[in-house]
Each structure stands twice: as structure tokens, then as C-alpha cells.
Amino acid sequence: MRWILAVLTIISLWHCKPEKPFDEDTGTLSIQFFPKYGNLTFQPLQSYTYGNKQSIKWSALDFYITGIQLLSSGGNVAIDQVGLVDLASSDVSTKRLDLINVKAGNYSGIRFQLGVKSDLNKKLPKDFKSTNPLSSTGHHWDAWDSYIFARMEGVLDTAGKGVFELPFAIHTGTDACIQTVEIQKIFDIPVTSEYILPVEIDLQNVYSQSGVYFDIANSPLNHNPSNIEVLKLFSSRLAQAIQLKK
């Protein structure tokens, strides 16, 4: 009888053993995005002054992040995770990218591709599981053989009279639009905990430079290779507009 009970006890204890929640030497890096327009916090469909007399509102604003690397003097750590950051969604979780189970330790910054890096851009949404942001068919253009790296959509009040009558859209894509973003910041990812890296994006700097605003009224829709120079310009500006939050 005793050995039977002993065996049953061992089985019970083995069965109840909790699973280890995390690898012991890993933590989470959470990149949180804070969109703004100059000194103003960005909100979808909020009106912002555009140039001298016009006003602008955005209804869609999202972009892919791929090829993420954590910078370290001991060797950079590549993260095999793709992010689709949506700054116009009401879901706050889409404004942060949680990199879980990354090697804990000290880092000097992060580097990533703004857009879908070339090897992934050769694939199709069907090649990815639904949990992967690259499975989104709405972000792929077959005729382009490319993902849509960034989508910026909204309406413009061209006359400055409070009537937002002109829809606009910029969709970037193709390998020519890929950009590298690097953010220098010394931080520690603690074991089994998280470090939050705050990153801001100034949309005013995407749509204007040196006080000169992009002429949306003259070119409201830019989303195919015939507009590639415009798309490259916006890709570059979007990358430059992403900085460590002060």
C-alpha cells in the first residue's frame, strides 16, 4: 500500500509543477510610440494647422518595423519580430511594440528598418500566420510586389474655412523606400521585467521641412511607383521624424 501511495504522491506533485514563466535571463523591451504634431499631441481626426492657412486631419497612420536590433558593445542582438505600429487606432496596444523574451542586459540603443526589409518583402501575406502583422492583405500590393510600408491618410481643409474637403493618402513601399532608424539610448532590460523605450514621431516634420509644407492639394494621392520620388521623400522624412522622446 505504501509504495502505491508514494507513487501516486509523486505523480501528483509532478503534475502540479508550474511551468517556468520566462527564461531566466530574458526580459521585455517595450517600444512606445508617442505621435505629435509640433508641440501638440497627435490624435486622429484632430485638426492641425497646415502651412499658412490650411488645416489637416489624419484618419489612418501606420507603418511596419522590421529588422530590429538591440545595440550592444558585446554584439548586437537581432530580434526576429515584426511590428505594425498603428498611431490612429483607438487600441492603445497598437502604439507599442513589445519585444518579449529578449536577452536581458545593458544596451546602447536600438536600430530597425522602417518598412519591410527586403527578404521579407519578397514574401506574401499568405506566407505568414495570422498572428504575424505581415499576414495583413490590406498592407500588400501585388501589382507592386511589395508590402505597403507606411500608410498616411486623411483630409485637408484647403481653403482654411473649416471644410475638410480634400482626401489625401500616401502609401510608401518597395525596397527603394526602406529606411534605417537608429536611436541611441543606454538602457537596461531587467531579468523577467520590462524596460519601456519612449519614442516620439513628429508628423509636422514628415509633412514639412524648413517651413515648407508638402503641397497636398496639388498631389493628394501618392501610392504607386509613378510617384516613387514622393514616396521616397516621405519614407526618409518619416524615419528622421522618429526620435527618442525627450
Binding site: M1, I4, S90, D91, K126, D127, P167, L221
Partner: protein, 371 residues
């Protein structure tokens, strides 16, 4: 001594092991026990089209032959409605690509529903929510709702479950599909799991003219008109033809997308004025007011009337709407614009849309009523 262990120890061991087993239920020994019925579920996989993604199937509801069989019976059985007059198939009819041909569906009490029935074709691939507003996460959650909706089946789940428990064959079906050992384990969650399993089998056949025409070596080709429509739909003409902008919201292979759009069909003075706020009800966000899911355009010629409120009765009207650019709104998709298509180009677009008809799908006997 050893003999005593054999006599008294082993029965105790078996008893303790039974208690440790999660499946043990003392009531299994009663009259409603199902334990005598074999439980040998057979896993099945859905044939995957080369152009399609892998279907995301919940870990806790894998497809089995028995589960799909049960789900199909439940789908077509009016037992789910209060007066046993309507089944899921009343609003999702196979020959209409699992829609009902009505502007909005009519419930058992004769009251009109709020929206047009959506096609279930390729429903298993839908992500980011089901229904026109994406308010539920998966097919299991979706199937819970119509049963108790006063505008649909107007029943209660406890009564449905009671009816299923009293049914001569359903308890056996649940035993075979899910391994329940007693009828008291028959729950609404198993009902919707079975229905969801059946619905995940409702996948395109890959035999539409569109699918064949884009498959090298199929020997099937678009007509010149269809090809022009195809080029405009996907903006593949390199500027030779107008961009009809369709693919932004109805992209291949599903001819749908996971996003929600205001496509300009509703005239409003402000974003708060939409009679049906769509996605906005779910999120509460201003930007989502009047936005709806872009449904699949596969079998679109069979699923009239169109839009969430069934306002357009023909595809010609739909094309006219998109060509007009619709009503302005601050959250209207910017690609809904005045396209300036010629009558011939509209005909080409229509011809292409008809190539999305999947006759093999609607004729598939596995998708028809088992009764």
C-alpha cells in the same frame, strides 16, 4: 500478504487514479451516461489553396470529422431558434454563398435585423473580428450571439441546451465529437465549437474563373473585358487604364481585408450622425464611426443585395457608387473617389467581378443541409 495487495490495493489504486483523472464524474454512472459510446475523433485538415494563407484554428477546437459533422447538423437545424422555425442556414444559405438575399435578415418574430447577412465563404480566415463591426474575435464567439438575439432566433441558451439534451441523437453526436461522458456536460460552448468547425470548412474551391485564370497552365483565360476589369481592380495596367482602387479594401486572395472602412455610402453632417455607427460602436472612437468591414468579393454576384444595410440591389449600382466617390466624410477612405470610369470600363469591372463566382463552392454537397 501479496495476495492481499492484489485484492485490496489494486482496486484502491484504480479508484485513486480515477479521482485524479480530470474526466471523472460520478454522474457518469447514471442513466444519461454516454461513456459507452466510442470516442474516437478523426482529425481532418482543410485542403489549402496555393494562394491562400494557413487557417488559424484555435488550439482548443481542432477540426475533427465528428465535430464538423455535428456542426453541420446544428447549422442547418432550426432547433436553435425559439419556435424551431429558423436555423443558421436561414440567413446563410449555401446557394447564395451563405447569405440570404435580403436587404436585412428577418428574425423568427418577423422583425427585420439591423444589417445584411454576411457571406460565410472563407469565414475561417477572418481576423480582427467578425460581423460587419468586428465585435467578436472568432467564429465560436460569433455563433453564441444569434441564438439569443431578439431580432434573430430569440431563444435562450439554457432552453437550447435542454432541447439538445432531450434529442435522440445530439447527445451521441457531442460524445463522438467532444468526448463528453454525460449529457450534463453538453454546453453552449460545445455547440458553438461544433458550428465553428463546420464553418471553417467553408473554403473557396479554387475553381472560380479568376482562380483558374491566374493559375499558369490551367488553360483558362480571361476575356478581354474581364482582363481589363482585372487590371483596373488591381491597378496593374501601368497607367493604361484607370485605377479603380478596389484592391485597397478587397485584396487577393480573399478579396477582403482585415480593416474597417467608411466607403462613403452614407450622407452625414458629422461623424456622430451615422444611423449605424458600425465599428464606432465597438471602439467608441470618432475615427471609427460609420466604418465597416470590407467583406469578401468572392461569389459577389450571388450575394445581392450589397453593403451592410443592403441598400444596393445590383452590382451595377455598387460600381456606380464607387465611381461617384460617394459622400464626403473626414474618415472616408481616400481611395473612394470620383473614378470617372466610362460605361465600357464599368462593364469591364463587372465582367471581372463575375469571374469571382465559385460555382463549385455553392454546389459542394458537404456544405448543404444534411436533413
Amino acid at each position: 500478504m501479496n495476495l492481499r495487495i492484489l485484492r485490496s490495493g489494486w482496486p484502491l489504486t484504480f479508484y485513486l487514479l480515477s479521482i485524479l483523472s480530470c474526466d471523472y464524474d460520478p454522474s457518469d454512472e447514471g442513466l444519461d451516461s454516454l461513456i459507452h459510446i466510442p470516442y474516437t475523433p478523426e482529425a481532418i485538415t482543410i485542403p489549402r489553396l496555393s494562394t491562400y494563407p494557413e487557417m488559424d484554428i484555435p488550439i482548443d477546437n481542432p477540426l475533427t470529422k465528428e465535430g464538423v459533422h455535428l456542426g453541420r447538423r446544428l447549422f442547418f437545424d432550426p432547433i436553435l431558434s425559439r419556435d424551431s422555425s429558423q436555423s443558421c442556414a436561414s440567413c446563410h444559405q449555401p446557394d447564395k454563398s451563405f447569405t440570404d438575399g435580403l436587404q436585412v435578415s428577418i428574425g423568427i418574430d418577423g422583425a427585420p435585423g439591423r444589417r445584411s447577412a454576411m457571406s460565410l465563404l472563407d469565414a475561417g480566415f477572418q481576423q480582427r473580428g467578425l460581423f460587419w463591426d468586428g465585435r467578436v474575435n472568432n467564429l465560436e464567439e460569433q455563433a453564441l450571439i444569434p441564438v439569443e438575439d431578439p431580432l434573430e432566433m430569440h431563444h435562450t441558451w439554457p432552453e437550447v441546451i435542454l432541447g439538445l439534451k432531450r434529442h435522440p441523437t445530439y447527445p451521441i453526436g457531442f460524445r463522438k465529437a467532444f468526448g463528453i461522458t454525460h449529457i450534463d456536460s453538453l454546453t453552449k460552448f460545445l455547440v458553438v465549437k461544433a458550428i465553428a468547425q463546420f464553418e471553417r470548412t467553408l473554403v473557396s474551391s479554387g475553381q472560380s474563373k479568376y482562380d483558374l485564370a491566374i493559375t499558369p497552365g490551367s488553360g483558362v483565360f480571361f476575356t478581354e473585358s474581364e482582363l481589363r476589369g482585372f487590371d483596373m481592380y488591381f491597378d496593374r495596367s501601368g497607367g493604361r487604364l484607370p485605377d479603380a482602387e478596389c484592391f485597397h479594401c478587397h485584396n487577393a486572395p480573399l478579396m477582403a481585408s482585415v480593416d474597417f472602412f467608411n466607403n462613403g455610402i452614407q450622407k452625414v453632417n458629422s461623424l456622430l450622425d451615422f444611423p449605424d455607427k458600425g465599428r464606432g460602436v465597438v471602439t467608441g472612437a470618432l475615427v471609427d464611426q460609420g466604418r465597416f468591414r470590407a467583406p469578401t468579393l468572392r461569389n459577389i454576384a450571388l450575394t445581392a443585395p450589397y453593403m451592410h444595410d443592403g441598400r444596393f440591389t445590383t452590382l451595377e449600382q455598387v460600381i456606380e457608387h464607387y465611381d461617384s466617390g460617394g459622400f464626403p466624410a473626414e474618415n472616408k477612405n481616400p481611395f473612394i473617389r470620383n473614378l470617372k470610369l466610362t460605361p465600357g470600363q464599368k462593364s469591364d469591372l463587372l465582367a471581372f467581378l463575375h469571374t469571382l463566382t465559385d460555382s463549385s463552392f455553392i454546389q459542394d454537397k458537404a456544405f448543404k443541409s444534411p436533413f
